[in-house]
Amino acid sequence: MVGPGRQERAWIRGAQGGSASDLEALFREHWPRAHRAAFLVVQDAAAAEDIAQEAFLGAVRNLDRFDRRRPFGPWLHRIVVNRAIDWARARSLRRETGEVETGGDEFDTGELGNPFSEGIAAGLASLKPEQRAVIVLRYLLEYSPGEIAELLDLPRGTVNSRLRRGLDRLEDILDRERR
């Protein structure tokens, strides 16, 4: 995990000092990845927005306690991903108990229309929330397995096995896409 850049440290210092514009810069910098990470785990646009929003609200509430020598991203992503996992588990439970579920939103696979993206999206949907979370942390947010273990408060071996199983599943799907 690398330390925060000079710019980010300045934004955090400014926000802690009461600067709304510095907070906004920090928010705009981190919103897209936080929102996207939540969406990839919960696969529901409205819930993802709520989760990302709540994570930022939580961050704001605790801003004064934040050590600005540390990067802001992992702090935020820990909240986002853990809440997303909780939400996805709760949804699975609701499905089991037969509560009415609204349809999820379609993935937007980007301007390039990479066909593998669609396969990946479908493959992610077939994984358990906990597996999706480690995949997202590893390949979207670029954390190492050790860092993921720390973020999710899991043994490193558990992270590795979840990554392996998730990758195997996605590899099968990508192989079918290639054919």
Partner: protein, 399 residues
């Protein structure tokens, strides 16, 4: 190319729907929370005063002051049942007026001094314009009853379908609109001249346009909103299809209409043009206009956190910055604005409480045991089923 590389590239390309819109929606809330926060050292030293201050901050001057100068903040985690000690019974209302409460055991009238009377074994009721009568329904029957004469029936009629969602026109009080199955009908205020207005409509309760010439808004089965002149039966305007709403709410001047559905909110002007719309999370919802204003309070539920927020928005070309009024865990179930516009009644379902929020100063009054006070009990089912479904606070003076 390895699977890991492909995966990395694909994930970087995938975009969540509405990512930028979400950013636009979230930022005002984050900033409001930021502006309301206190430095940590001060917070630790002043924990209890902070709670009181949070109430002060929460109970918003915002509703009645200009958005730019409003003192507003997020009070998440600060104002909850722990910070507002509820009173065990409703001994009086905080503002003049009279409540009509629709409970599982029928409609109740609550007067300013807190006295309550059940109005009979009806399923639901709504006020006549000056609270002189209540229009009630049960099964196939529609009736006008006198709440001052122990619920004596003034007139009634029966129809083949299930009768519900009766609404008395506010201005002259001389028309009542109601649903009979999927049919929309109108009857004169004295029970005469009953007839169909439309044969097939959506399930949304119809809403008379304030100040209109007997104009009634209703939803169609495909979620269009239609405004009809009830005397001529002519359609004044009709919107495009959309999600079928649960609630239609007019501003006091009849110039704005909120179309609230499970997953969306549409804001229309008096000509049916859409000013703006937004998506909502599935969950409890409700909206109420601030008096003499185009600003309104909206219940926003967050499935991710299980909390409900009250936010203030405006029914203008832009929604403006959402401003937090209040937040609590669980569901808010009903909203009612006091006739003088100073108080907002909020039904907090999970806590079995009513919250009266003072909009012009810094006060919250909580009343506990609401279900029991309106004839319910734990044996009848969970709070989500037994908590009063709606409240209206009569009667605002004419604008």
């Amino acid at each position: 190319m390895s699977t890991e590389t492909e995966l990395r590239r694909a994930l970087q390309r995938i975009q969540a729907p509405d990512e930028l819109e979400g950013l636009r929606r979230a930022w005002p809330l984050v900033r409001a929370a930021f502006e309301a926060r206190e430095p940590v050292a001060w917070q630790r030293r002043n924990q209890w005063p902070l709670l009181a201050a949070a109430v002060v901050v929460a109970i918003l001057a915002a509703a009645l002051t200009s958005p730019g100068r409003a003192l507003v903040g997020s009070v998440r985690d600060a104002v909850t049942s722990e910070t507002v000690k509820p009173k065990p019974a409703l001994t009086s209302l905080p503002a003049p007026g009279v409540l009509l409460v629709n409970s599982k055991n029928g409609p109740w009238r609550v007067q300013f001094d807190g006295s309550q009377r059940r109005l009979g074994p009806w399923w639901e009721g709504s006020w006549s314009p000056q609270a002189k009568y209540v229009i009630v329904t049960r099964g196939h029957r529609l009736a006008a009853i006198d709440p001052n004469a122990k619920g004596a029936i003034r007139w009634s009629l029966a129809r083949a379908g299930t009768v519900r969602s009766a609404r008395w026109s506010r201005e002259a009080g001389d028309r009542v609109a109601y649903l009979n199955g999927r049919q929309l009908r109108v009857v004169a205020g004295d029970g005469t001249g009953d007839g169909p207005l439309r044969q097939l409509v959506g399930p949304t309760p119809p809403a008379w346009r304030p100040g209109g010439d007997r104009e009634l808004a209703f939803s169609t089965v495909d979620g269009r909103i239609e405004l009809v002149e009830t005397d001529s039966t002519k359609t004044r305007w009709r919107t495009d299809p959309g999600e079928v709403p649960t609630q239609l709410v007019w501003s006091e001047d009849g110039e704005r209409l909120l179309v609230l559905a499970e997953r969306s909110l549409r804001v229309l002007d008096a000509e049916g043009h859409r000013l703006w719309a937004t998506g909502l999370s599935v969950g409890p919802s409700g909206a109420a206009f601030v008096r003499k204003s185009h600003r309104f309070v909206l219940i926003r539920f967050s499935p991710a956190t299980g909390r409900s927020d009250l936010v203030l928005l405006q029914a203008e070309r832009e929604p403006g910055e959402a401003r937090f009024l209040y937040s609590a865990p669980g569901d808010f179930g009903t909203l009612a604005m006091s006739p003088n516009g100073h108080w907002l009644l909020v039904g907090w379902v999970n806590a079995d409480q009513w919250l009266f929020l003072r909009l012009t100063a810094s006060k919250v009054v909580a009343i506990s045991g609401i279900v029991e006070q309106f004839g319910g009990s734990e044996r009848q089912g969970p709070l989500s089923k037994t908590f009063p479904s709606s409240v209206s606070w009569c009667c605002p003076a004419s604008p």
